[in-house]
Amino acid sequence: MIAMDKVLEIVNITKEFPGVKALKGVSFDIRRGEVHALVGENGAGKSTLMKILSGVYTPTTGEIRLDGKEVIFQDPKQAQQLGVSIIHQEFSLIPYLSGVDNIFLGREKRKSNGLLDRRKMRKEAEEVMKRLNADIDLNKPVAHLSVANQQFIEIAKAIAIDTKVLIFDEPTASLTGKEIDKLFELIEKLKADGVTIIYISHHLDEILKMCDRMTCLRDGEWVGTREIKNVTKQDIVKMMVGREIVNAFPDKPSHHGKEEMLLEVKKLSNKSITDIQFSLKKGEIIGIAGLVGSGRTETVRALIGADPAKEREVYINQKKVDIKNPTDALAHGIALIPESRKTQGLVLNMTIKNNISLPILKDLKGFFGVINKEKEDSVINQSIKDLLIKTPSSKQMVKNLSGGNQQKVVLAKWLNTDCKILIFDEPTRGIDIGAKEEIYKLMRSLADKGLSIIMISSELPEILGMSDRVLVMHKGKIKAEIDGRIADSEKVMHYATGGVSE
């Protein structure tokens, strides 16, 4: 059988960094033309292994065999030339170059006189796009293309150099439902063309749908390689965490005793959102669902004054409040825990301590406005303990923490302010199941303590599992409000895709 032919063999790979083994003798193989999923929690060693396969790292011991021959990749370029390419989560395109120029970056075709042969490059690029069944304007600077189309250009770049193995790292992280379907069609097509695909994802549904086999890593060790048709979601989760997770979501309170209104947004609009109106009760969690670009993040950013608003009429405890910027929002007890930890939530090059104390430094002032470092340390150490942040010390740089721990640092930052309204924008993006569960529990316990939470999420199970009430957005408007106890994925998706009330 052709399917049994091994294209890539990973033999006893070990990777040591000073003081730690990131990979401990990992062996498995990838069959030609299969879609092979690689799963594992953050820190399991997936990224390290992919960096070895794509030539970024060299393994400490062990070997990689490509088509049965041992290969040593000195750098990513060599890996690409030998036929292994990776599509990173963050694309490596040059924003102001056109699609054609990006596809041929570093290996431009030239005419005999040394000048660029644009016509030839365009023709080849168009052929590749045809092969991918994609209709994208290759003359536009890629910055003007949608994220999904940028990803296609990135894939085209790899395909144009006849890649044998294509690694996808969390390819659906910033795609909408339709775009994901299109990507899956493309993956099927590549597979039919004989390209082998390694697929890294946190989304187990995608893996069950798309992949032929899967390999799981845990703590740098190989846990197992299985045929997808022989496993269930529960099995994969069990392999990843080494135990069974029954239900990630804490129980919702059956009914709210007090129906005390905390926040009322009567009018909110700007260039991306229109007629936003909603309310939030004390101790309530509301979920805002919608597709990427439906205006969810724009809504909360306008609410806290991070973006300008045309109209902004907001009441807290029945009193009208004037919020012009995030400083005002904070003063009124509203905090936004932003979507992107790295670009909006954290200063990566600072310590855990300095990040957590950023919004509360004003309250830590002692004599002559000098920061009271003893008080600061005690607050920070308490936070680290309360939120179970895994770190040797509060002086650790946050860039060295895992996604889950980074997210906890962001949370700690806001929990120390006495904010009554917490807005979580994609609170569990890119973090592993164990850490997700902890964050869900924390959110519910905060709500039980009387805080109110607005949660934006692209993950339907999260919206359904956590929300007391669900708001569904579409094209900058709130399309529906659904009771969290009766909401289901069909209803939410119906409105999120522009459906009207039945």
Binding site: N325, T343, V347, G369
Partner: protein
């Protein structure tokens, strides 16, 4: 990857590691400083004399004080090219107020410093509110302040300052410590306290690391950005004070190219040019190193043209070496 790094760090924090310590850019500058001092002590007879050392300290003070303001600016990820011109302009104004208008030195100095602060504030206003890149705004200010100094003086030096004014640049505290050094030390102490013990210092570092995260933390980022340029204006005016009192005159063309020396001191001291990382001690070391270098080369009779080439080469080599080591 997370667990990897956590373990790696706990491993490093176990004890004092000599190799690790010397990897920090400040330590490298310190090492370079001592090597240079040793070299010049052996190769020239005059280097290690009391007179020469006090000379070096006086020479270093002007650049050292400019570099303090520059450290504030660079930590936020900005740059201030106007400091040399602002120094000349505020200096000539101080002298002018005294000799043309008969103001007492204290009043003239205070007004000069206020002028420096205002010029810095204007820089900050355009950078923070109009969002014009710092390099453009301060380049324009460099021209404006230089032009203003030339206009004010008519292009000629203003001379005839009083003895008490000249004391600031030429006098000694307790008969031994040159006054410029005293002022420089006071400026360093103030900067140290602001950067390490006041909330605003933390914000300055944080803005250089990730401005958006700081803004969403409810901090008024624009105010802080204006503040750093204001500080830079003030330190430029203080340098102008020392410069004019040392020369006993206000020279409109003084301080040309000083902005580059100040940037060099900051960067040699290990502060990242893109902001967020660095230390005021590094800046002191950077300024001292540059001062010792030019003093020693002068003593050895090396031509000033060669000195400039050497200085450029040393700056690039030092930065290259430290960034190379940091990547490890």
């Amino acid at each position: 990857m997370n667990d990897v790094n956590v373990q790696k760090l706990s491993y490093q924090t176990k004890g004092f590691n000599v190799k690790e310590t010397f990897k920090t850019p400040e330590m490298l500058t310190l090492l370079g400083f001592f090597v240079l001092c040793a070299f010049f002590s052996f190769s020239t007879a005059q280097f290690l004399t009391g007179e020469n050392i006090s000379n070096i300290v006086r020479q270093v003070s002007i650049n050292g004080i400019l570099a303090v303001g520059m450290t504030f600016v660079i930590l936020t990820g900005g740059i201030d090219l106007s400091v040399g011109s602002v120094m000349a302009f505020t200096g000539t104004i101080m002298v002018g107020l005294m000799i043309n208008m008969g103001m007492p030195p204290i009043a003239a100095v205070l007004l000069g410093i206020v002028l420096g602060a205002v010029l810095g504030y204007i820089n900050g206003l355009f950078i923070a509110h109009a969002r014009i890149p710092a390099i453009i705004v301060t380049l324009a200010m460099m021209e404006v302040a230089r032009g203003a100094a030339l206009l004010y003086t008519g292009g000629y030096p203003l001379s005839g300052v009083s003895k008490s004014y000249a004391f600031i640049g030429r006098g000694y505290l307790f008969g031994v410590i040159p006054m410029p050094a005293v002022i420089m030390i006071l400026v360093f102490i103030a900067a140290y306290i602001i950067l390490n013990h006041l909330p605003i210092g933390r914000y300055i570092y944080a803005i250089g690391g990730n401005e958006e995260a700081v803004r969403l933390s409810g901090v008024k980022v624009k105010k802080i950005k204006i503040f750093v340029y204001l500080v830079s204006g003030i330190t430029a005016a203080i340098s102008g004070l020392i410069m004019t009192s040392r020369l006993s005159s206000g020279q409109p063309m003084a301080g040309e190219g000083y902005e580059l020396d100040a940037i060099a001191a900051v960067v040699l001291g290990g502060t990242s040019i893109s902001g967020g990382r660095g230390h005021i001690f590094g800046t002191i070391l950077g300024a001292l190193l540059l001062g010792v270098l030019s003093n020693g080369l002068n003593l050895m009779g090396v031509s000033p043209y060669v000195q400039r080439v050497l200085k450029g080469a040393i700056i690039v080599a030092a930065i290259y070496y430290s960034s190379f080591r940091q990547k490890d």
